[in-house]
């Protein structure tokens, strides 16, 4: 039988290898927040004659109008996206008129979002609150659902640790996405993240449920073997559900779903993959680490190493 639990420290290291660089970059550069959180305006438009002026010209036009914090980019579909400080309706009309005058073509507005600064901050702080509330409710629910077996509370905590692992993986991905593809953290990102959290927990429960069942059947088996056995038993289901169904669906969305959904689908893709990975390679192994209180051994080993 494959021994997954025995190699647990390798898997922990692997995850840290992805998470830590992401967090370091996050700490240094931060991650660009969309106007959903910072407040400001986003204007996506295209010129009817197909003109696609360089972003720098758009930026200078905005500056002439006295508008601040401008970022402009062209998309692969012949449209231009300009982000700036908060614009009201009159501001928008002024920008459009100026654009049409300067580039001599009718500009069609595809999208115009304007978010006041206070509401953005409020959304961000409430989103964090929503995640915390979700985490607490889930710990409570798992403790309740597993009340029949020893240390039910641990299962809740381990599920949440693994859930935060998934959140960190998604954040790392977003940080890399921000550097490579100009991603921004927006309301859709938040939706994706919260979904990852929901499905992550769903996955852990399936694995834990098997441990719950097996611990009633094989009372004599030592905990490490029991957990490993349970993981192997659910492995086929994890692969089939996650890789074959959910991931295919998301891959189709990412490839064919249009620009609006691409970032969303990619985050879900990686996040849900991480959710499955962490049920097997993070959540269950941590249960074993906890059961054996291995953190005491970490110190002993280093002492032994020092004395040898």
């Amino acid at each position: 039988m494959i021994n997954i639990i025995g190699k647990r420290y390798i898997f922990f290291a692997l995850s840290l290898l992805i998470i830590i660089p992401g967090l370091i970059i996050l700490a240094i550069r931060g991650v660009p927040m969309a106007i959903d959180f910072t407040g400001g305006s986003l204007l996506e438009f295209k010129f009817e004659n197909g003109a696609l002026p360089p972003p720098a010209e758009i930026v200078s036009l905005y500056k002439e109008l006295g508008i601040e914090d401008i970022q402009a980019q062209t998309t692969g579909e012949g449209t231009i996206i300009a982000r700036s400080s908060f614009l009201d309706e009159q501001g928008r009309t002024r920008v459009i008129n100026a654009l049409e005058n300067k580039f001599g073509s009718t500009a069609t507005v595809l999208r115009f979002d304007s978010v006041g600064p206070t509401i953005g901050q409020e959304v961000a702080s409430r989103a964090a609150l929503a995640v915390l509330v979700a985490a607490l409710v889930v710990i409570g629910f798992i403790t309740f659902a597993f009340r029949g077996i020893q240390n039910a509370f641990r299962y809740g905590i381990c599920a949440i640790i693994a859930m935060f692992h998934d959140v960190l993986i998604v954040i790392s991905l977003t940080v890399f996405g921000a550097i490579l593809a100009g991603w921004q953290v927006d309301a859709l990102f938040l939706t994706a993240l919260l979904t990852v959290i929901g499905f992550s927990v769903q996955d852990k429960i399936v694995v834990f449920d098997r441990i719950r069942e097996n611990s009633n059947v094989y009372r004599r088996l030592d905990f490490e073997t029991l957990v490993n056995h349970s993981i192997i038993q659910t492995l086929q289901r994890s692969i089939n559900t996650q890789l074959m169904t959910v991931e295919f669906m998301l891959l189709a969305l990412a490839l064919f779903g249009g620009v609006t959904l691409r970032e969303f689908a990619l985050i879900l893709l990686v996040g849900l993959l991480s959710g499955t990975y962490s049920s097997i390679f993070i959540a269950a192994p941590i249960l074993v680490v906890w059961q054996k209180r291995e953190w005491r051994k970490w110190f002993r080993r280093s002492e032994a190493g020092a004395s040898a």
Binding site: L110, R111, V138, L194, G198, F199, A252, L253
Partner: protein, 453 residues
């Protein structure tokens, strides 16, 4: 077989109802006291339009009464209806915000100026027309000698009555108090008191016009046409009529708050052009179909007979989910469609959990029927608990979305939650019944071929 008959009838019934709801131009349901027609509602991000978030323009620590907010919402709704946008949505979000959605509207400037304008309440002299003619004007727009902002009403003029300019006696600013009272015989009335300046004008006017109509007009729309029964000389009058408590309250509110009871400011505007919406809809539908096709193929190849049955139940699942979306109705947004696609994942997950369990039981030498029963029994606890966890997250997302007027988040959590609930039904009832039914007629001996062992 008999234990399968009842679930089978139940499933067929649900399928028939779903198809009935789903067919294009569905004739609707018109019996058992239900009278409904059905249509697919598409969100702003798919059809284009304007979404605005209005917030009470008061310091954050000022308490705002729920009544004032709901009155403000109603007034905003009235103004939005004046824009002539079909399927406009005006909803309260949290304690101090109102979301306005105007599908198909492309001019945010015009829309917002309409929302922000102050309502104008007028008392209009209709002595020139009869009571019947006046009554016919209720709910229509008229012209008075006070102009209303930049808006012109002439465009909608259709008859001589609406083209006539009526003189305005006084405006809503003349009202000091308005309240709902009950007469001696218990009928609801709206009692009002005027401030001293207006009382004099009103005394003159009413004594000259006994028996004539004095119309109450809000934003040029006639909302009530009371007759002057006697001269009102002391500045205090009552409006009587066949009021219910509700209609009396609503008139009192309109008199009291002709303008918004609380100042509102626009904190967020989102405009989506119609072409972008069309494009997104088409692409996400294509993507969904491709994903669906791959998943269905995979299930059939890997799980063989049960896989094909699971595919059938997934199609039934999609049918039911779509019918539920049309029935409630749920406004479908882009994330909403994504949520629905993800919930098909959940639906398959339940099937896969059960089939894997069945295979295990088959490998350990149980008979087909035993394996089927045990597979369902043993997989149930994990299906139940894991889906409850997803529903909990959906609930929190929904709360988050509705408090902040983030309709995208709300749409996503709603379709995901509906999908999860329906997926439980299809996996537990539909797949199981159809598998039982097939195995009742057909006893496969080669398990490797039919079950992919």
């Amino acid at each position: 077989m008999s234990r399968l008959t009842r679930p089978l009838i139940f499933i067929l019934l649900i399928i028939i109802i779903s198809i009935w709801i789903n067919i294009p131009n569905s004739p609707g349901i018109n019996f058992l006291g239900i009278n409904r027609t059905f249509e697919t509602r598409l969100g702003l991000d798919l059809v284009g339009g304007v979404q605005a978030l209005l917030e009470a323009d008061l310091p954050a620590d000022t308490p705002i009464s729920a009544e004032a907010m709901s009155t403000a919402r109603r007034i905003v709704e009235n103004r939005v209806n004046g824009l002539g946008v079909t399927e406009a949505v005006v909803q309260q979000a949290g304690d101090r915000r109102i979301v306005v959605e105007l599908p198909g509207e492309t001019d945010p400037e015009k829309a917002l100026s309409t929302l922000r304008q102050t309502g104008l309440l007028e008392f209009v002299d209709m002595s020139s027309i009869s009571a019947e003619e006046a009554l016919a004007l209720v709910g229509t727009k008229i012209r008075t000698d006070i102009p209303l902002g930049t808006e012109t009403v002439t465009e909608s003029v259709t008859s001589t009555l609406t083209s006539q300019v009526f003189p305005t006696v006084m405006t809503g600013s003349a009202l000091k108090t308005v309240q709902v009272t009950r007469s001696q015989i218990g009928e609801y009335e709206v009692a009002f008191e005027l401030n001293s300046d207006a009382a004099k004008t009103f005394a003159d006017f009413t004594s000259r016009n006994i028996g004539n109509i004095l119309a109450i007009v809000l934003d040029k729309e006639v909302i009530s046409v009371p007759r002057i029964n006697s001269a009102i000389t002391d500045g205090q009058g009552v409006i009587t009529g066949n009021f219910t408590q509700e209609s009396a309250n609503s008139l009192a509110i309109q008199l009291r708050y002709g303008s918004l009871p609380i100042p509102l400011k626009v904190v967020e505007v989102r405009t989506i052009g119609p072409s972008l919406g069309q494009d997104s809809l088409q692409k996400s539908l294509e993507a969904g179909l491709i994903g669906f096709a791959i998943v269905i193929l995979f299930m059939a190849i890997y799980y063989r007979l049960p896989g094909v049955l699971a595919d059938v139940s997934i199609l039934i699942y999609a049918l039911i989910a779509f019918a539920v979306f049309r029935f409630i109705p749920v406004t479908l947004t882009l994330p909403g469609i994504a949520g629905f696609l993800l919930s098909t994942g959940s639906a398959l997950d339940a099937n896969i959990l059960i089939f894997e369990r069945m295979k295990e039981e088959l490998r350990s030498g149980r008979t087909l029927n035993q394996a089927m029963d045990l597979g369902w029994q043993r997989a149930w606890s994990s299906i139940r608990d894991s889906n409850i966890a997803t529903l909990i997250t959906c609930g929190i997302l929904f709360w988050f979305g509705s408090t902040y007027g983030a309709t995208l988040v709300k749409g996503f959590s709603l379709t995901l939650a509906i999908g999860v609930v329906i997926s439980l039904f299809t996996a537990i009832v539909v797949t199981r019944t159809s598998l039982g039914l097939v195995l009742g007629y057909f006893k496969p001996t080669n398990l490797a071929r039919w079950f992919g062992l």
